[in-house]
Symmetry: C2
């Protein structure tokens, strides 16, 4: 009998997840969403079963997942925590890429008591990056430094933003305003968003600019590495413009009086900017991920790095950011069906890295989808 | 008996005009304004007489100027046309720096019939630039090219604008949106505002960036030069940022719906930006003016150029933009009292250039105030 997979959410990423899993003849895939339009699109494209359900309610989720062997959550970040809470109630294996603002692992004990497994933050970064970092630190006697660089960008660089938003533009602005948490000398420190821009070269992509963003998430707590940071990548120039807009006050949610009415500048900026940040239908994008770790191994200084550069796939019409994020989740869902994830609890991916054969199997599945994490090891001294 | 001078407006420029004229023992200076605060400041500073009057009404203007031998107008641009109309009724000699949006010279016939003289646009540029251009074209057998570059800038370049507004910030934004009219091949052409940025070097100031602005005004009609343009100067980088803000839609006066209310983005931008563009009390500024004309003279290609670089005067506390603008008007008012302006009508300054001795006398007076127009003549072939 086929294993039952339920995908919560028929958006860009949810569709990619469903499409990938639907290619596996051992699986029966059902996609649940509140939008019949979105469901019709994913059904027409991938032939998956669909269920119209209000996933903002526990009842809707319970109904959607009642026969599932594994559930993949690809709902918006604002629905992430409530969905996880309900999923814990259901007890069914869950893999989530909602990137909720809250710390999902606060529900770890609850999930353990329920004997339930939820892998959270399971996209590309956070996600694949966590899995690899959890693995990579075991390659050192002492890992001293960990850096993650990630960005989703349009191929076409058009003035003035040289940017389109591969996910909710409001979450992008959030990245430009929320202070970034880094680890320095083993302690958590805070830097202004968009700070410490640095230029980095990537093969075939060219020079990108990285800024501090608040993307370490669970890694800041689960790994014992004295220096850790996560930075977001943009084409050079974007950061400068975004800093200027922020300085001008355009990202402020504090209402100001304008012509006798109270207005939030951020709302005006959003109304003007977000339509300009929409990808065109079929517009090619790319995803860049670089992970660098340095430390000591048998007396020598060693650097391990992994790099992924992925582009829009014209054949399938799936955007790169949806591929790298969605296929990370679909590959993890497969590992869960294969019994590779044996722990209970709410688990960020780095907590799975020690499961025997899991990382290798994940990277093999990911690579089968054209997503190759190129590994390099370098002796520095 | 002392000659009576009345200054309409006790703002930044009006105060500079009054202060300069008050230094002349032959003159009795009165400043009129609706604001008693502004009047108290200019009286305390320069000991001039003051009159509180509502200059937005013809009656207010009539009352203010009834004993004047010459009147200097330094009211806001929005009041410029109405004030000129009333001044024509009064018949009294008038010198104006309001830079009204309308073509003041449309009232030329009316002023002529009234036997009245109004010199308009009599600041630094428009103003001194017009006077010099009207003079300069007579130095050629055929003048082929005329370029005016002008900017008022803070000495301190602070990220991200590197700019403060020396006059109403709304008029600055107007400069960034209104199409610029140029003359090419003898015909009026239109370019987008902020277009065709070019880098120019100025002694002791460094490299500035010039963009097309709509500042030829009367020169486009009064001079027969096949190529004419006026460009505004900023520190490099400012133009790029302003173009990005304009592209984003922030300079648009079209209301958009934001959170259920209609909002003009320009109003929000103004509310956020204008306070950041205010000069601090005593903050030093500079004014840069360069005029370049090329043409033929006795078979040779010749270039004439004039350049003014002026800085904030800490001794008097008068801002450079107020000095260069206000003293242009006060010097012209003196020439009018001296009988150097013999024509009637509404006259842009280039129409005075042929009056015997007027340009030399003006430049001498201007230089006495530290405002030296450095002239250079170059044979190109």
């Amino acid at each position: 009998m086929k294993k039952q997979v339920v995908v919560l959410g028929a958006g860009m990423v949810g569709s990619a997840v469903a499409g990938d899993l639907a290619g596996d003849t051992d699986l029966s895939v059902q996609v649940a969403d509140v939008s019949t339009d979105a469901l019709e699109r994913v059904q027409a494209r991938y032939g998956v079963r669909t269920l119209q359900a209000d996933l903002s309610t526990p009842a809707g989720i319970h109904r959607a997942v009642e026969k599932a062997d594994v559930v993949v959550g690809s709902l918006s970040s604002s629905m992430g925590l409530a969905t996880l809470q309900t999923m814990i109630e259901t007890g069914r294996p869950y893999c989530d890429i909602s990137f909720m603002a809250q710390d999902a692992w606060a529900l770890d004990e609850l999930a353990k008591r329920r004997g339930m497994t939820a892998v959270v933050d399971m996209g590309v970064a956070p996600g694949v990056s966590n899995l690899l970092c959890g693995h990579a630190v075991t390659l050192f006697d002492a890992c001293e430094r960990l850096e993650i660089y990630v960005g989703g960008l349009p191929i076409e660089r058009r003035w003035p933003y040289q940017y389109k938003a591969p996910f909710a533009p409001s979450d992008v602005i959030e990245e430009y305003t929320r202070p970034a948490r880094l680890v320095e000398h083993g302690a958590l420190v805070t830097r202004e968003a968009l700070s410490e821009p640095e230029l980095l070269d990537f093969p075939e992509v060219g020079t990108l600019e990285a800024f501090n963003s608040d993307g370490l998430r669970s890694l800041a707590y689960t790994l014992k590495v004295p220096f850790m940071k996560e930075k977001t990548l943009r084409y050079p120039g974007h950061i400068e413009l975004m800093r200027a807009l922020r300085h001008l006050g355009l990202f402020s949610a504090e209402p100001i009086e304008v012509g006798g009415q109270m207005v939030r500048p951020l709302d005006v900026t959003s109304a003007l900017l977000f339509p300009q940040w929409m990808y065109e239908e079929g517009e090619p994008d790319l995803t860049v991920l670089r992970i660098v770790l340095e430390g000591k191994k048998e007396g020598a200084r060693v650097r391990h790095s992994w790099e992924l550069i992925d582009r829009y796939d014209a054949a399938t019409g799936v955007r790169s950011m949806s591929r790298t994020t969605g296929y990370a989740a679909s590959c993890m869902a497969r590992l869960m069906l294969e019994g590779k994830v044996r722990q209970h609890g709410v688990l960020p991916p780095e907590r799975l890295s020690h499961e025997p054969g899991l990382v290798d199997r994940f990277l093999a599945l990911y690579e089968e989808r054209g997503l190759k994490m190129t590994h390099q090891e370098l002796r520095l001294s």
